[in-house]
Symmetry: C2
DNA sequence: CTTATATGTTCGGCAATGCAACAAATTGCC
DNA sequence: GGCAATTTGTTGCATTGCCGAACATATAAG
């Protein structure tokens, strides 16, 4: 059988777009990354397993593991694995404290911070609710710093902080973490990456990305999806956010606007959207239309979506109908995405994660309009990591730098 | 400045999905591919230019060029380049006969064959019209073989046939050229790659892909778009086909259905589509709705779209209005694609290429509903290579194997 | 206790790139 | 015409990194 093997990425100085050759050191970087990524995604493995998985020679793998050990990223342990005849192979395990990242999430109605070690170990995590509305960016930065401080203080002795990642509800230029627009926070043209770096006073790179894109990344890398390489993550907050992983790679478009599915057309006869156009998906399937369809919600004292959830749990018929109607529109929009991206999995996050049980059937109905073949390949799933998908994704984003080039990053 | 450098792909035996390490030979493959691809896309370059472009050492580049020369793929020439002080650097040029491919296109109302050398040199090309309708696959295969024979015979002495590529109006599994479905040709579940290989009796690999995907590839690689890495190609034939290049890579989805934009929803109040759903994009913006909107067309003796074109050229008001209405719907669909993919360029091919001048304004109007920012980055263009985009793309698909691994392929 | 088996370890070989020194070919200046 | 400055090709050696073979080690099975 023949499979395609894809080498990783290097950073090198040079002008953008130029075709670059590579030297021998690049081989090493790639092979270190291959081993480390396997451990990160699949957990511990014996040396002999790593040998067969990478296809490299025993002696090469031994050398690679030696280097990762020197970098403080892995350790070895005798006798962990089930063994047959022959000399037992030691189990190689990750040391989470060898590479820790700070993950940050700036969502519509909460901010969250977590410390995460390589392998996905979450040391600590805090999320605090915030009322919706526009926040002064500087206040938000200092709020985050205040949440982060105790978490960083609680990390084990001798840990190695390797980076920070942040998810934000807005359009982000990933190269430098510049936020073009975050309507739900009232932010425009903000050098968020730099601001976070300044405020956190950490001497590590800070990466920023869109929350739905990171939700997709989180689900892709840590959602227990096995070999899935094509997935869509749909997050309902105020609007509808959408992150796409195509063939194992996040889709951004030229400036990070890719996946703005909330403002695609599904109903020309629909209402006017806040974007100025008519009939956008999120005006039919977002939070606002859901609440509009539940008459009882305003009379309750609860936060709106909580009230809907509670009514649904009580089996309130009008509420269930409202959810179903919303779900049908959700499914209609998903059918478009299925036709366009032919994914293996569509993960529902945010609002849809909470209401999944009540939505599922109606979503399936709405999806009926998509082409039968791609629909049959696409599985609709509730988010496995729930509300934390963007936060986990932010950690993955920060860890990716290290995993791509362990020697360069861990050496700092 | 720091740029990302992406290494290419290798073929290696092993189980799919396994993380593979790479050895030294892989470096060479990658560097050969880098040099060859640069020449293929940008034409001749001096050795010193190649040195600075690749970032490799002078002596390494000399060695690489030596190997490509031995493979018969390039030659060197003194004095071609403008020179300043210092020893002049010889110009490295491609020898198109060093790697020739056969390109095939099976479209709705024509079939075409071309012989193309590396660097994009088209030796010969034939296209014959066919009435629409369902064709026996075997007849089509022998028709293609008959067209191909004289073209292959006319190739220069000592040429090296390196592969064949085929574009087909249907859903294709690219790994083995298996056609799931080609509704406009009446084909289902057809091992087209194998059939073509058998019929053509060429001892080279045959690659098959969807025509819109290859239209996108053709425009991307040979459409004179410079550094554009995000583009969408929209081909109007009977339906609407759509090929996407995202960050320089074709988007296929898990089984090749990605880009089936023709059956995305734009108008719930619209007509029933042949796919069974209502309000699909192609029922508003495809060829059929266009013809439906031109009352005069049936009374003319011409082939339908030719008649429309002729009426438009004559300035017939009802026809221009019909085209504009179609164009507006086309633009509405494009606005969805712009929100979802954030491309730099949207190339209009097929039907829309022919009617571009009459469509352009209305398309712009339809696009107004997309988000302002991604819209402002997306340029709508008429196809630069016109009706041949899928055919050129088929050649590029076949040449890609060689470019990715010059030593392995050219050695045969 | 022996044998078969699988894996770690060591060391020499090989492939590919980089580097430095030198040679060659051009421009420009006198 | 000659010479310096500049750029690039060429050559030989150093370095990096992977592979393979031989050997050592640790287990299971009989």
């Amino acid at each position: 059988m023949v499979v395609e093997v894809e080498l990783g990425r290097v950073k090198r100085s040079g002008r953008p777009g130029a075709a670059r050759g590579v030297a021998a050191e690049e081989l090493r970087r790639h092979n270190l990354a291959t081993v480390l990524e396997h451990l990160h995604l699949n957990g511990s493995a014996t040396r002999s397993q790593l040998t067969s998985i990478t296809g490299l020679n025993r002696s090469t793998v031994a050398d690679l593991i030696g280097q990762l050990t020197d970098l403080g990223l892995v350790g070895e342990e005798q006798g962990g694995a089930i063994s047959g005849p022959g000399r037992p192979s030691p189990v190689v395990y990750l040391k989470p404290e060898g590479a820790v990242v700070l993950a940050v999430e700036m969502s519509v109605d909460s901010i969250a911070v977590a410390t995460v070690g390589i392998g996905g170990h979450v040391y600590n995590q805090i999320r605090i609710a915030r009322p919706r509305g526009h926040f002064d960016p500087d206040t938000t930065m200092s709020d985050i710093a205040e949440l982060a401080r105790p978490l960083l203080g609680a990390l084990p002795q001798g840990h190695n902080l390797a980076g920070a990642g942040a998810a934000v509800v807005g359009i982000v230029r990933q190269s430098d973490g510049f936020v073009h627009l975050a309507p739900n926070l009232g932010w425009r043209e903000l050098p968020l990456g730099q601001m976070l770096a300044d405020e956190l006073e950490l001497d590590v790179p800070v990466r920023v990305a869109n929350d739905a894109d990171l939700g997709a990344l989180g689900e892709y890398r840590r959602g227990g999806l096995g070999g899935v390489r094509h997935l869509i993550y749909i997050s309902g907050e105020v609007g509808i956010g959408c992150g796409v992983i195509a063939n194992g790679r996040p889709l951004h478009g030229v400036a990070g606007y890719a996946g703005e599915a909330g403002h695609t057309l599904v109903n020309p006869d629909g209402l006017m959207c806040r974007c100025g156009a008519t009939g956008c998906w999120e005006t039919e399937a977002g939070e606002k239309p859901l609440l509009r369809r539940v008459p009882a919600v305003e009379s309750s004292g609860l936060e709106a979506v909580d009230a809907v959830t509670q009514l649904a749990e009580l089996g309130d018929k009008p509420t269930l109908r409202a959810i179903a109607e919303t779900g049908t529109w959700l499914g209609i929009g998903i059918s478009n995405l299925i036709n366009l991206f032919n994914p293996e999995v569509v993960v529902l996050g945010g609002l849809y994660h909470r209401l999944f049980d009540y939505l599922e059937e109606a979503v399936g109905k709405g999806m009926e309009r998509s082409l039968a073949a791609p629909r049959s390949m696409a599985q609709i799933r509730r988010s496995a990591i729930g509300a934390n998908a963007p936060l986990i994704g932010a950690a993955e984003l920060a860890l990716a730098d290290l995993i791509d080039n362990p020697a360069a990053v861990a050496a700092r």
